[in-house]
């Protein structure tokens, strides 16, 4: 047993058990500030299995870890800090998604996809995104309030955007949302988790086969076309890539839509400023991304060599959670970090999309969707307000990606 495992099992003060909960939806878990100050790189025990992992909480250190080529994303390596239970036999046979690959394999896969998400491509997608948002806001206004903003807008908009990008028929969306939510749920049994993975993969397998035979104007078809010369991926890799794009492209953005709207409703002065001056919107989006950093523990790693982080040596084989929510509330980078400030000049330095070679490939697409949704609601639904007390909202405290389950609104 390694030294760190002994320490966690043992004799010193009981270690932090991870994940830690947010007690306020607009703030980081209360323990993070103390960790940043007193033990910025510290040992924790994972709630799911009691195994040890390092928590990294300062902005500088999180960037350092995520930019270090001696740190792996491979979830099959011993020591990788899993946060939900994956049966050994499933782990052994699972195909690595791009976010769990290391260079040079990762580089080859990512380069197949980069052209799909450039600043220029996202700019070209904006009119269609706006159209999708307008259609859903039309429907919402026609139905009349109160409505649940999550089901009326937050889930369907990103779902439709990513599905059109991939060439997935819209009539299959409801099933996707169900499976995607299941993959993010800490509380599922291994059987339920496995069943969700299986159902989604079966569907995507059929979709990729369809694109192989009848290519369309979509990401999967272009990936397959490029792959004919590059030979980067086999059929299963393409299915796995499609799953990553779907799951990564819609639940995350959906959660940010609902949380962002809630945050603006709870800060009416800043909401009024934004309504008066839409040029403030891009920075407001960055600030909302920073404040919530919804994928806090999405940056799990394992050291493949001994590395120094701050005063600590992380040994080869030890798991690391480079916590972007902690980094994004680091007061040395973001003064008064728990305060939402749409004018915050350093907002863009947040790590909510991660950092390093794995930084979210869809970040600019997400930004465009958030701007479109917030901007449209501000403009077209000026009387928007919560239709339930904020204390009664249920937040996704146990999910891999933070969010709110329902957001009842009216106008």
């Amino acid at each position: 047993m390694t030294q760190s495992a002994d320490a966690v099992a043992g004799t010193e003060a009981p270690p932090v058990r991870f994940p830690l909960r947010r007690t306020c939806p607009f703030a980081e878990p209360p323990e993070y500030a103390g960790l940043r100050a007193d033990a910025p790189v510290s040992r924790a025990a994972l709630k799911v299995n009691g195994k040890p992992a390092w928590l990294v909480t300062r902005h500088e250190h999180v960037r350092q870890v995520l930019g270090d080529s001696r740190v792996s994303s491979n979830l099959k390596l011993p020591g990788y800090p899993h946060q939900f239970h994956i049966p050994e036999e499933l782990l052994a046979q699972v195909r690595l998604m791009m976010l769990n690959m290391d260079p040079p394999e990762h580089t080859a896969h990512r380069r197949m996809l980069i052209p799909e998400f450039t600043a220029r491509r996202v700019r070209e997608l904006r009119p269609r995104i706006q159209q999708i948002v307008d259609e859903h806001v039309d429907a919402m206004l026609a139905a009349g309030g109160p409505v649940d903003l999550v089901t009326a807008l937050a889930l369907p908009v990103p779902s439709l955007v990513i599905c059109e990008l991939l060439g997935v028929p819209y009539e299959d969306h409801a099933r996707f949302e169900e499976w995607s939510a299941a993959l993010m749920n800490h509380d599922l049994s291994p059987q339920e988790y496995g069943a969700a993975v299986q159902a989604l993969d079966t569907y995507l397998d059929q979709l990729v086969t369809l694109k192989e035979n009848e290519p369309g104007d979509d990401l999967i078809s272009r990936f397959l076309e490029k792959n004919r010369t590059e030979q980067v991926a086999d059929h299963t890799d393409v299915v796995t890539m499609a799953r990553l794009m779907l799951v990564g492209g819609h639940e995350t953005t959906a959660n940010m839509i609902a949380l962002g709207v809630l945050a603006l409703l709870e800060h009416p002065e800043q909401m009024a400023e934004l309504r008066a001056d839409p040029a403030l919107l891009p920075n407001a989006v960055e600030e909302l991304l920073r404040v919530f950093s919804i994928s806090d523990a999405g940056t799990a790693r394992v050291a493949v060599a001994d590395i120094e982080v701050g005063d600590v040596t992380i040994r080869a084989g030890e798991g690391i959670l480079a916590l972007n929510n902690a980094a994004d509330h680091d007061e040395s980078v973001f003064p008064d970090p728990d305060t939402l400030d749409i004018h915050r000049k350093e907002a863009r330095s947040h790590l909510a999309f991660g950092y390093g070679v794995h930084q979210c490939i869809g970040a600019n697409l997400a930004r465009a969707e958030l701007e479109a949704v917030y901007g449209t609601l501000l403009r077209r639904v000026p009387g928007l307000r919560l239709a339930a007390p904020v204390e009664e909202l249920r937040f996704k405290d146990d999910a891999m990606v933070y969010g709110v389950y329902e957001l009842p609104v009216t106008w």
Partner: protein, 73 residues
């Protein structure tokens, strides 16, 4: 440090295409200096950008997730 005829310092920028992961932040932050080529990877539009672009170029370098951009004074 280099200087032009008026004694003003010049900024030189370099970008390593091989390291680039195509986040596109540089092209968004400083579109006069950075672009993404057909592969979505960084390409420089200006190696010696005007001094008034220093702040945005520095921000692009700082936010680049693959540390592909360097500013040389």
């Amino acid at each position: 440090m280099t200087a032009d005829a008026n004694g003003l310092s010049l900024m030189r920028v370099s970008a390593e295409r091989d390291r680039c992961v195509g986040s596109g932040q540089c092209a968004l932050l400083s579109p006069e200096v950075f672009d993404q080529d057909a592969d979505g990877l960084v390409t420089l539009l200006s190696e010696e950008p005007a001094e008034e672009l220093r702040e945005q170029v520095a921000q692009a370098a700082d936010l680049c997730p693959s540390r592909s951009i360097r500013v040389h004074d």
